[in-house]
Amino acid sequence: MMSQPWTLAEPSHFSSAEQILFAVLAILSLALFWRRFSPILRRILASKKDADFHLAPVGKRIRDFVWEVALQGKVIRQRPLPGLAHAFVFWAFCAFAVVTLNHCAALYGAGFLDPHSPVGIAYFYFAAIFALACAAGIFGLFIRRFVIRPKWLEPFSPESGVIAGLIFLLMVTYLAAFFVQPDGVAGRALWWVHALTLLAFLPIIPHTKHLHLVLSPFTVFLSRGGFSKIPPLQGDEDFGLVAGKDLTQLASLQAYSCVECGRCTEHCPANNTGKLLNPKQVILGVRAYLNEYGPQSEEALLGKHNSQKAIFECTTCGACEFQCPVGIEHLPIVIGMRRGAVNTGEWEDEHGAKLFLALERGSNALGISATERDKFIAKNALPFYDGTQEYLLWLGCMGAYDPKGREIVLSLVRVMRYLNVSFGVLRKEKCSGDPVRRLGNDLVFQQLAEANLEALAQANTRKIISICPHCVRTIQEDWKEFGTPPPVEHHSEFLARYASQLPSVPNQEKIVYHDPCYLGRYRDVYDEPRAVVAHAGQLVEAERHRERSFCCGAGGGLVFLGEETGERVSHARARELTATGADVVGAACPFCNTMFQDALAAQGPNAPRLLDIAQLAARGLPETEAGSVK
């Protein structure tokens, strides 16, 4: 039978020898796949259960799944060109699932898509379009990985080349079948090459990064359900991630899902400024650990496959977790290992110990006498909160003790007084516990959270406002482990609501806004501070902004840990902010502020000035007697 031109050539009958040969090879291929995949599956399932895991809310999980997996939204958004190339490969695979089933079924005369029926023709053409796009995509990805070779795709992986070759072959053999006779030698040969490529592909999957084809849909769907979600410790023997026995099923699943794309490392401020930390290697280190010691091992996690030094270089900026296209959550792992090292006393660090001791005995991370806070409150006549005012103004360590932090608080106070919004401060306030939480000291964190929760409850607190994104996040999310914190908002959210009621500033300076990690990625607040900035001047953007903002270097307790190796993260960011040519850097976090003071000074005489959004908002207000600092 003569085939019409441009239909898929499919041999109309196969010999029993062919049928038996294929069956044997298919079984072999599946067996090989299972032999490699089953130990991995076993290691994941044998890991500790995630005690805090809840499937609800399922709606959000489905939404994330559709966006991240089906639509490849995250992959494309974060790296548009390679992302699109990847998406076409993925979609082609989906479209191909039916083609492949039919391909194998045809061997046994059970083909369900007739290449001559309208449905068959339509579907095969549809798949052909994807095959074309996929072949082009895989070719582009191949060029990128082996010719352009961006540094985050290190180390060089020859097996990626083999995989790319196999995928390319699958597509080409499919497309070529449109140009040959179904029952000719060429048609049969194409059928076999296509089938053999498929069977060769299968066993390669489990021991390469292509395991993500199998695992990542589950990883995305089964996320922990929150950004940087730190699981509560369970029972008396849980001190965080000390050894393999502490790795949970989600942690193990994630470790095996990593596709080694290096997005996390590409955006990591520590890695970009010459530190040892490499978030991709952290995840691969956990995988290597599981391969060597297994999930129930007592062998320390920080040792052969992950380094303590690197783990304590993390600013917890969350760029890695935010970027990861396969749903890997780095922060519970990084902070988990810190907990393991700190809760058992393994971590020895002069500055770290000083911070912990200051918070064991005192009230604030700066190690200053609490009477200084009392004096600041008295001097500026800040009222005490008694349950009747609208806001409890949370000062935080920086707002209560740091000179710049105090200026920010007093600017906010001026605005609140101008707007006639009532507020009061707590008589006794302790550090929210952010630095000890991120450094993994559960003992001190619990003490601080409980003491503060009690003080807030005693004061009948209705709503909290704070100038510090770290306090906001810690109060709202992390304290939940020990009670019910009152609602809390960052001053940018408050100021944005009232911006229209503030006198405008005639002087239209260029202001570049720096997104603090704990406000942006952690809280999803991007537009409010920009509205405040736009009210006070002309908003300009730095090269990396919003979700992609680059850390100031202070987070994760690092601001208290002394010297950095390599370049200072704050200097790298200050250079980028200065390059915008802005007159002013608008900050929204007292820690960013403190980091940028020095870093901007190092940019020379043309460096922009540094102001918090509260100071920007207060610029147009009439001068008052309030506002003196100290």
Binding site: A353, F356, R361
Partner: protein
Amino acid sequence: MKIIVAIKQVPERDAPIRIAASGKWIEEADLQFAMNEPDAYALEEALQLKEKHGGEVIVVSAGPERVATTIREALAKGADRALHVVCDDLADRDALGVANLLAAAIRPENPDLVLTGLQSEDVGLGQTGVILAELLGLPHSTLILQVEKTDGGIKVKRELEAGWFQTIEMPTPAVLTIQSGGNKLRYATLMGIKKARSKELRTLNAADLAASARAVVTLEQISLPKKQKSTQILPGTGKEAATALVEKLKFEVRVL
């Protein structure tokens, strides 16, 4: 080495101090308490000696119920067991009265080394350790920054005035009063706290110890320091005034 560390619980540094109605002590009702700082260094020294040479670290503290939290903290940091001498008349006892209690609790233990802080952050007498040594009939050394074990006893580094140090060798058993700053303190850990729960904390009743409370020093009155500000004009030419200022900064204010 069997080491006993005497640890006192004192008001937290930030605590707002008010004089009690008696005028002889402070109002304790709404105070927060913490471990006396030099005692924390004494504990650290003991723990490090134990880590190097093995042995046992025993904590002893005299005071009311509330003292137990500080004892737990010491156990959490690594002490092996503790003795709590329960007494409610601490503020009425002079240094001899407190040392009598401690000596009675320590004597049956026959330690190789007794470490106390140099002085307490509340009354600051600097006497308790020295009197304790006398009561136990042991040699002592004060203002110690470092302790090293030798073949026959110990070698200790003492702090003298003006940046000078003295190293002396002495036999054990002995009593040492430890100065702050000789070591780096360790932080408390969750694991330590959990382990501390199962460690032995023995309570001894002050009344059962046959320790005399008779005071040889009586406290008349305590008062808050008066804030003073005084201005002094240094006369003479600029150079003379500057020289005089440097003198004052060096020898009176001692900041240079």
